[in-house]
Symmetry: C2
Subunit: 342 residues, 2 copies
């Protein structure tokens, strides 16, 4: 059967911060389900910092295409399937884009959601990019141990809020950098941080040095840029620096200039390591099992910032980079009664 399909389409690349006007709304139609394909009705769309990289023209690990629905993860229900292994009524997560319906091949699906994955939107947050990134970077790169000081940039975000709790559970002293005083308070009251600092304060670096009297052993870095140029000076010998995001760099086209790091890397024998979650699928099961246990025991605090209606997506993405969200940003397309939200 045909489906009327509202979409948010990428209209122009953004090499700086994404703006709502990089997108246009469009109404299309899916005539029917092709052989080997399935049609998914999206229930929640994910709004993620990584989308900035996908929208630009600079080299990246993935790109969104002009004139197509914005590249995004989503969860939804299979409404028709001509693909082996999928049945109508299955809930799935995957690369379904910013649209009401996705007509895709099986390769677009990340997984069929297990019954315990409830509410299903958790597949986009705790059991999705956020939780997986937090767990895998800590387990495979940073290895926080008793007595370590671990710094997290964008500490109150969807990933950082989980990192704080997982790292303090392992005995590290966790310090966070975030962009407002209320997020500083959240980090300390809910997310396991021993200390948190607003990097917009004029004396943030002095505050950071004070909060890390023994230096910084491990750095979970989603900011990069001018923030990390300063942080590196506080890192200890044999420190480990995971580069998980680059939120503090407004644009990569052209590649901006920065103080050379080879010397400090060498004399401190630092390890710097990049990380893209999508190349670590063999680690998902262990990560999800751990996060599920913590949630089940009520030991994991997690906030969501849910906006209603497809049209809310572009502004939500713009606000993400202004730090205006509080918790994981999601767009809800279908309410509890099954109706489309507006």
């Amino acid at each position: 059967m045909p489906w009327v399909n509202h979409q948010i389409v990428l209209a122009s690349h953004a090499d700086g911060l994404p703006r709502a006007d990089n997108f246009v709304e469009r109404t299309g139609e899916i005539q029917g389900c092709d052989a080997g394909h399935l049609v998914v009705r999206n229930h929640y769309l994910s709004v993620d910092p990584a989308q900035k990289g996908w929208m630009g023209t600079a080299q990246n690990y993935a790109s969104a295409r002009l004139g197509e629905p914005m590249r995004a993860l989503a969860v939804g229900e299979v409404v028709e399937s001509l693909a082996e292994g999928f049945r109508e009524g299955d809930f799935v997560s995957g690369w379904f884009g910013w649209q009401e319906y996705a007509h895709v091949g099986p390769e677009a699906v990340q997984r069929i959601l297990e019954p315990w994955c409830s509410p299903i939107r958790y597949a986009l947050s705790v059991y999705g990019l956020n939780g997986l990134t937090a767990y895998i970077v800590l387990s495979d790169i940073l290895l926080p141990a008793e007595g370590d000081t671990l710094l997290v940039s964008t500490a109150a975000g969807g990933v950082g809020s989980i990192v704080g709790q997982l790292a303090s559970e392992r005995g590290a002293r966790v310090v966070g950098l975030t962009g407002s005083d209320d997020k500083v308070a959240l980090c300390k009251s809910e997310y396991g941080y021993s200390a948190a600092i607003n990097y917009k304060d004029a004396d943030w670096l002095k505050q950071l040095a004070g909060a890390c009297p023994d230096g910084i052993d491990k750095y979970f870095d989603m900011a990069g840029g001018w923030i990390s140029d300063e942080v590196i000076a506080l890192m200890n010998h044999f420190g480990i620096h995971a580069q998980v995001g680059t939120a503090a760099v407004a644009s990569w086209d052209p590649v901006p200039q920065a103080p050379r790091r080879e010397r400090v890397l060498l004399i401190k024998e630092l390890t710097q390591k990049g990380f893209v979650i999508f190349n670590h699928q063999q680690r998902y099961a262990e990560a999800i099992a751990h996060l599920r246990d913590l949630l089940g025991e009520g030991k994991l605090n997690f906030r969501e910032d849910i906006r209603d209606g497809l049209s809310a997506a572009p502004a939500a993405l713009e606000e993400l980079y202004q730090g205006l969200n509080r918790g994981k940003l999601l767009i809800r397309l279908v309410d509890e009664t099954g109706k489309t939200t507006h």
Copy 2:
């Protein structure tokens, strides 16, 4: 007994390339050996790329002091000992500086040379910084394996010449960057390189891409700077980059600007790791055993560039940064007959 002691003293810091006129010659006298100390007559002085870092005012892991003999490794003979564990006639390696005699405590000694360490100057090269650095960086950081493409910058130098042979022995395809056509030839004929490129050629980067058709998996980097800014673009996903030196950066004071690397580090999930040999002493025994086996079997080519007389040291250091040496640079102070060289 008193010893007349010719010395080469650091007269001025060099934040750019060292020049012979950063040094002055001085004649001092050692009145006698203090309790707990020993007097070493230096036979060979080491001339090393790391000395540039010690001469500057920029932050480093060690510094040479103005008005004192230039910080340097050396090998020599104990001519008097009031220190436990050392006897007259022992040959020792250590931090004895650019001078004929060193009056030092036991902490300045690296080790008493074993009888197999012959000629004794090998303690400054194959069995010293050069061989140890080559072996330990390959074994602990780069882990070259069958089928890997491993790039080495300053490929024909004291370290690079050994890296080429050790890495090709492990089955890697080894490619070198060096600064002259005759060094390119040496890399290929003697040092185990499958290909080598003169980075002074206008089209060196195109040559490099051609020599690495499958990209670069591992990078043994003693250059850094503008050379590595280009090399990183050729590195493969999950590539490993060991920062062992920064010869291509003329000065670190002030820290120069460079293209930001966070994005390429992230999207390629590279590992960058700094290395300072002096923090890895627990690995020396294994490294030396391996190098001794190779030398004993005649399977390790190694060149030395030996200059006679203390006064030759400053110019030798200057020439090192001009790439004018062929092999490990050493200053010989005592000839086979035991006479002081001039």
